[in-house]
Symmetry: D2
Subunit: 145 residues, 4 copies
């Protein structure tokens, strides 16, 4: 996806502690960036983290992550992280996340979360209200998973 396909971006700056001896961001830290952007995306949708955790003992759990490393981010880089809800299913939701430094496209990723009852760790239906809130901030309506 290109920059213009995202309605939501979160911007952050690469920290010293995130850069390794190759002078590039360690490959695992992009999942932290995804998570930070994801938190801000939900806030934008009017569903801050505290709220997400509080719905009757249900929580979002990561189910699958994919990251393609196209070009490396470096210390002090300012990164724009685009988040888009690509699919909103019964109990799972899939996000496309891409990271840009200016016009350079550095990272392509996907994250699938399952909404589950924490006591039994089984998927439960996502609140209908969430679908509506997400649809409101997305240019392209999310499909099914």
């Amino acid at each position: 996806m290109a920059r213009q396909d995202f309605s939501f971006f979160h911007t952050l700056r690469v920290r010293w502690a995130e850069v390794d001896m190759q002078a590039i961001v360690f490959n695992g830290h992009y999942l932290t960036y995804f998570d930070v952007a994801f938190t801000e995306y939900w806030r934008e949708a009017g569903l801050p983290g505290a709220l997400l955790q509080a719905e009757g003992g249900c929580e979002m759990f990561a189910r699958k992550a994919t990251i393609e490393y196209l070009a490396p981010a470096r210390f002090d880089d300012v990164l724009d992280i685009g988040v888009r809800c690509a699919a909103f299913g019964r109990s799972s939701v899939r996000f496309v996340i891409e990271i840009f430094r200016g016009d350079a496209h550095l990272i392509s990723g996907e994250l699938t979360y399952v909404y589950a009852d924490t006591s039994i760790r089984k998927g439960v239906p996502l609140p209908q209200e969430w679908r509506e809130r997400l649809a409101r901030i997305e240019k392209i309506a999310p499909g099914a998973t």
Copy 2:
């Protein structure tokens, strides 16, 4: 893949700082575990990290990572991380990495690395000697990428 398909395992214990408010390992830290196990795999093959970095200005860069979260690891868990070289190509190499806690299969992952000239960040041929060393510790010979 099942436990018996791996010739190499690295064992580590989950640290307090790696566990989040959901009382499970934060999803990004599994890539750190992959990296730790990967370092030990190369050591087992007689190719310690220092050596990998020193071959004429060439280095391994992560190209793609995939993680499936089947079940969560928790604080103080002892994890066995199986690493298998699934494909050894001209300039890239693909690893299958799976994490077990006893018999429980927690994580399935893949990591593709490209061997590149650091000055130009372009793929260069992997040393033939590395293929031989890897083949020696694998039950199943790595295929092509």
Copy 3:
């Protein structure tokens, strides 16, 4: 020190991955926050990180850190990190760093850095220009170490 003693603050938000099972920021991550704020302090002084690294093979190395945990920061908290250069010596520099959440004072810390020649790891004199730049952004002139 109180909030009003600081001329410089950097603001950041606590990330999900930084919070542990006690639902508070893991004690080690405050040093990452110190480092992030420290980077921004130097930028404010007109001495960005890249510049700091490039002065004839000399670099800043942490020599001592102290952290007092007065009250915990939690997920999604917005923190104001005050940085003050308390002492500027021949080859070492001491910073006082305090973290606030609104009016609540959460963390008191100190960080001493040595400016050293990386080849021999021995202290060398700090550039006179740096002292001038730091003095310019501080309300209270830094003392000697």
Copy 4:
């Protein structure tokens, strides 16, 4: 303190992701090392982490940390982390932690924890049994705080 003053050591290897662009361990990660060694120290005393958390809603909270950076640890270094309980007070306990690479002394540190009731975050008396267990594994009996 010298190596021989410690009755307890935990050994770990520096991970790639913990090393920064200066090719040394980032200063904050030593607190993670302290914490890992601390967990193992309690286990040695017969008080594993799960137990520590479960005593009637009381938990250990970091109150103060000090780190002196004498010499840097590097990627793949094997570190011996000595932990000694230096003082065991009514509701707080102070540990001296030092890190060695072979004979080289790299880090000196101290960590003070407070045992507190999590609901009110106020110090409560440490269990008498803990004092006895710690005394059993220490060469030098812990003093008062």
